[in-house]
């Protein structure tokens, strides 16, 4: 199986995000960057699938030269090779999915695994756009029935179940009020949710090996995609702050406040 996994560079989820006073963006100083956590889950699932079914995991990222760090991270986890679409400047979903479509047409994977959302822009769109552009089936918010504390998880069993004939994949999805199961014909698009797996750490030998793994460089021009964005971020602002409240001494004091002051009970 050939699995293509996307890897976006995002701010570390632990970082404190502040808006610049002029509203043109966020303060970059002091920020650390990581692979989008959902994409790391995607890399892990890809690795488990090829451990079971053979094949290779190809990781792709779009961005300036700094995104090579995230590609190296995925390679250190065990991905086999990387594709870097070199582009600086804003992109929207139409642009990103357009570029990924060309990469997919070139690589012809059996499955593309993306994160359900980037934790910076929080759009939750790219996988679905890509599925439509390719005319493929989609299974978003992939999860599993077993918990992250289960035996299956400890044994790194892939949660995505490929059919015996290798032509389909079964995906359990996190949806409102429960879990839905879909069966997609391959090739298909899968987007990851948090409970799909617990990604492995990159080992020291993994990190060493990653240094010599190939990263192929492409550009929007080479791929023939116009990436002029159709989304303009006009202004950013800090959300209205919530006033810190008070600490109450005991439960009767709390109930008194809730009843007489907040009037919610």
């Amino acid at each position: 199986m050939k699995i293509l996994v996307t890897a976006k560079r995002v701010e570390d989820p632990e970082s404190k995000i502040k808006v610049k006073p002029d509203g043109s963006g966020i303060v970059q100083e002091g920020l650390k960057y990581k692979i989008n956590p959902f994409d790391e889950i995607g890399v892990e699932e890809g690795l488990r699938l090829v451990a079971k079914h053979q094949g290779e995991v190809v990781v792709v990222s779009i961005g300036g030269k700094e995104v090579q760090e995230q590609l190296r991270h995925a390679l250190a986890m065990g991905a086999h090779r990387a594709v870097w679409v070199n582009h600086t400047g804003p992109l929207d979903q139409l642009g990103i999915a357009g570029l990924l479509q060309k990469v997919v047409e070139k690589e012809k994977p059996d499955m593309v695994i993306l994160g359900k959302q980037s934790i910076d822009d929080d759009q939750n769109q790219v996988g679905q756009y890509l599925a439509e552009f390719l005319g493929w089936g989609q299974a978003t918010f992939a999860s599993k029935v077993e918990s992250l504390e289960s035996e299956q998880e400890k044994n790194k069993v892939p949660a995505l179940v490929v059919g015996a004939d290798g032509k389909t994949v079964r995906v359990v999805r996190e949806v409102d009020n429960g879990l839905a199961t879909l069966e997609c014909q391959l090739p298909a698009i899968v987007t990851t949710d948090l409970r799909l797996n617990q990604p492995r750490y990159a080992s020291l030998p993994g990190i060493m090996k990653a240094k010599s793994k190939p990263i192929e460089e492409l550009t929007p021009a080479k791929l023939g995609v116009d990436v002029t964005p159709a989304i303009q971020v006009l202004k950013m602002s800090a959300p209205p702050a919530r006033k810190a409240g008070i600490k109450v001494a005991d439960v009767p004091a709390l109930v008194e406040k809730l009843h007489n002051e907040a009037k919610v009970v």
Binding site: E11, I26, E132, G178, P239, R242, K247, H259
Partner: protein, 321 residues
Amino acid sequence: MPIVLIIAEQQPDGHLRKATFNAIGAGKQLADKAGGELHVALVGKDPGKVADELKGYGAKAVHVGAAPELEHYLAETYAPALATLAQELKADYVGMASTAQGKDLMPRLAARLRAAMATDVMAFNGGGADVTFSRPMWAGNVFAEVKLTTPVKVFTLRATEFTAAQGGQGAAEVKTFTPKVEASKTKFVDFKEVKSARPELTEARVVVSGGRGTKGDFKEIEALADELGAAVGASRAVCDAGWVPNDLQVGQTGKVVAPALYIAAGISGAIQHLAGMKSSKTIVAINKDPEAPIFQVADYGIVADLFKVLPELRAELGKLK
């Protein structure tokens, strides 16, 4: 005249999802701002039965498309069915509530319409042809004002930010249309519902949430929820451990709630959790650690063991009756 099309959602049991009415309320706001007209669409195997329920909410027309292939929701079959309707109506704006279905479907529909899309829209600004969308980024640490420059603009709506449309606003015309049916490469296998007698998390007036501090023992959380007629919520840590169903996760990557009262017990208050509950009217935090960040957003905090506080709170509340 600009046309705003809002997609209604049926739950697996056939009922309309409540967030649909918040989305219709939002659609009405947008139509007023843009100087346009509101339309509502509903597709499915046999949506006619509930379509009538959508009549009195201020839309010009309710468009109903039925086809046997649309029995189970799939983005692949719903997107073409709705795209042809949007094209026939020449819709300028196409929106839906940010439910799991909305998030799955709308980007695929947008791609088909070659439209740019804004997720989790909280407000519309400007007017006429220059309506802009306000939406959260970075777990709600940033509010962005965005403009979509494609002819058709697609969005999902954060239901907690829009009041539900009220009924009794005249009767919209119910029009049937024949949805475009395309073969799907995906098959619905099953849906395992997490049944609960408690109110739905995103719709409840009161939510009682537990975190890792519960160590997986949710008995007291549930008992308090039942005393208050509340929904139960959880932090990611709790869902990851498999202690409660995944769809109870509140936060950036889970559900967004804004109840009148949110009680967080044994939850530290990570930014990703706050992103899903910060708009609650009143927040109560119960935590052993006086430095826990949850206290920074709580109206009332108690520094104590949740296993002592919760039963006592339940007993005290019982006395109010």
